[in-house]
């Protein structure tokens, strides 16, 4: 299995606060990976480290085995769409593509033109006058024209309306299907991810909470409902991710390591959203301590 992006004990600090720390993960080739976490969890920091905009303060990040900060040649293999899809607003889409062609050794201007023609975006209008959704499409076309082997997107759909969001993700999926590019996409809109991603990375409070193939992760987690204080946990539970209790019953989201067979507990399949929320709700003990309130 080819590893496209690999981090090892990666850390980045702003002043004394760690924006990301002890981050170790791998993204295999051909995946559409979701990078999920609340605002401030370190998603942008991780992506900026991966694309060489930031230098790691600890550990390493490798793209195709090379360190992007020191070896910018590897960036020709990487397409990056930054948060809020920054583009020169007085440039037309055509001018942005000219820029792409002049700044990159490999740039498929015809592909970019074709993509905009498909979605009907004017090429001769300054992109500052396009809608947010159209601008995101131009940014995606600009990134894809590099014919990257890895596409990194930082909250590409956060600021556009639901319809444009769906069109954007459709366009993204079409490109992925056509080219087989590996994608790492950060977002906090969980519903979108369920439709698009097959690999999941959950970041919370600067640390990686969960990494893995989506279907394997879903298969390895169960929601258990049983009586309150219903005695010992059933065999097959590796650990409890999150527990909620009412007066009469307990609801647990558990990671399993074997089949569950305990009639006292009812087991349900989990959705991707349940899973992500359970890991995000895991509690941030540091920030509780910082605010001097009990967790």
């Amino acid at each position: 299995m080819d590893i496209v992006l690999e981090t090892d004990q990666l850390g980045k600090r702003y002043g004394r606060a760690w924006a990301l720390r002890e981050c170790s993960l791998r993204v295999p080739a051909g995946r559409v990976a979701a990078l999920v976490g609340p605002n401030g969890a370190g998603k942008s920091t991780l992506l900026h480290l991966a694309v060489g905009l930031l230098r790691p303060d600890a550990g390493t990040v490798r793209i195709f085995g090379r360190r992007p900060y020191d070896d910018i040649a590897v960036l020709s293999e990487v397409g990056f769409v930054a948060q809020d899809t920054p583009l020169y607003r007085d440039f037309t889409a055509d001018e942005l593509f000219t820029m792409g062609a002049r700044l990159n050794r490999r740039f498929d201007t015809a592909l970019a033109h074709r993509r905009l023609a498909q979605i009907g975006i004017p090429r001769d209008k300054p992109v500052g006058k396009l809608s947010g959704g159209q601008r995101a499409q131009v940014a995606l076309a600009l990134a894809m024209a590099k014919r990257p082997r890895l596409l990194l997107l930082d909250e590409p759909v956060a600021s556009i309306d639901p319809l444009a969001r769906r069109e954007f993700l459709q366009a993204l999926m079409a490109v992925v299907a056509e080219t087989g590019t590996t994608v790492l996409l950060s977002s906090h809109i969980l519903a979108d991810l369920e439709r698009t991603c097959d690999y999941l990375i959950v970041l919370h409070a600067s640390q990686v909470k969960l990494v893995g193939d989506v279907s394997a992760l879903l298969a390895a987690h169960r929601q258990l409902v049983g009586p309150r204080n219903g005695g010992p946990l059933p065999a097959g539970v590796a650990h409890v991710v999150r527990a909620e209790h009412t007066d009469r019953q307990s609801t647990l989201l558990v990671r399993t390591n074997a089949a569950l067979r305990d009639p006292a507990w009812k087991a349900y399949d989990v959705t991707l959203e349940d899973l992500i929320l359970a890991y995000l709700g895991d509690g941030d003990s540091r920030s509780h301590a910082a605010w001097e309130v009990p967790a």
């Binding site: 694309v51 060489g52 960036l75 930054a82 809020d84 700044l103």
Partner: protein, 329 residues
């Protein structure tokens, strides 16, 4: 990359060109008119006859009458000319400060720094394009103003070596302009927002300009001292010498300053009103005129030193800016 830098900044280049064109529309006709008047008054020949020596014989014609007439007609031009002093600063504010600051403020650095061009290369090309436009503009400006100011300087009242007039002609404006652009760029890497970068440029530019002009420039080379007698004067100072007079006055026989900012010369048999020459001003026998000055012949040397200092500071700032660009995100 050059294409990108030009495409991004062509509007500013256009505005700069329009600014220079407007300046030319004002300066060419007024400059020609001044030259005509200058020649009509006979100042051309008169000034040439005076030469560039610091002292001339007491009975030489100093072209005083024609000079007064000329300055009366065109004195207001010198006030307009002083406005040109801010032009290098404007270039720094509107070319230099936004160059990096706007990219980071709008987040577009995350797009352009992740293309296939290194940040160092990006920075050099951007700086190069901005620097080249600033250089062309400032050369045109410096030489144009030199041409425009020549009659005014020669008419004696505002020598080209004097503060303000030195600063807006010759090569000095080139140094100021390149420095202003470099300062703006550097400020943008430290405060990556356009307005703070512009403010820092404004403060830094005025600070260094004022400090160097008042504290350093008079001492680029040791100033010379010139003394000549009050009484029985056979010589007088030459208004066409173009000397930069730092201070002057009358000292008594012991060398003590008696009257600052004054200069008196009495012909061999002259008397003051009812008394010996200068007696009513407290001038005693043995008193002499004293002046501390930089000779006019040092003008281009001083221009070179001034320009060199600002270019060197600009180079340092650009070096630091490139270093910061490599490390910020």
């Amino acid at each position: 990359m050059i294409w990108l830098a030009w495409r991004q900044h062509r509007k500013q280049a256009l505005f700069t060109a329009i600014g220079l064109a407007l300046l030319a529309v004002f300066m060419v006709p007024t400059g020609l008119a001044m030259r005509h008047t200058f020649a009509d008054l006979g100042l051309d020949d008169c000034v040439r006859a005076l030469g560039t020596a610091s002292m001339i014989p007491a009975d030489a014609d100093t072209c005083g009458k024609a000079s007064i007439q000329f300055n009366g007609q065109y004195g207001v031009m010198t006030l307009i000319g002083v406005l040109f002093l801010v032009l290098p600063l404007l270039v720094g504010l509107f070319w230099g400060a936004p160059l990096v600051a706007r990219e980071i403020e709008q987040g577009t650095h995350r797009m352009v720094w992740t293309q296939g061009v290194s940040r160092g290369h990006w920075a050099l090309v951007k700086f190069g394009v901005a620097g080249a436009v600033a250089l062309v503009a400032s050369v045109v400006y410096g030489l144009g103003v030199s041409w425009w100011l020549t009659p005014m300087s020669q008419a004696g009242q505002h020598g080209r070596f004097n503060i303000f007039f030195f600063d807006m002609q010759g090569t000095a404006p080139i140094g100021y302009t390149i420095f202003a652009v470099a300062l703006g760029i550097f400020a943008g890497t430290v405060w990556p927002k356009v307005l703070p970068a512009m403010s820092a440029t404004l403060v830094g530019f005025l600070g260094l300009r004022i400090a160097l002009t008042t504290l350093a420039r008079p001492h680029y080379l040791p100033a010379r001292v010139l003394t000549f007698p009050v009484k029985d004067a056979t010589e007088q100072t030459n208004p066409a010498a173009g000397d930069w007079i730092l201070s002057y006055g009358i000292r008594d026989a012991s060398g003590k300053m008696v009257t600052a900012n004054a200069q008196i010369a009495c012909a061999p048999d002259a008397t003051g009103p009812g008394a010996a020459c200068g007696a009513d001003l407290g001038i005693t026998s043995g008193a002499y005129n004293w002046q501390l000055y930089q000779p006019g012949t040092r003008y281009w040397l001083f221009q070179g030193i001034e320009t060199g200092i600002f270019l060197a500071v600009a180079a340092l700032l650009l070096y630091l800016a490139v270093r910061r660009i490599r490390h910020v995100a």
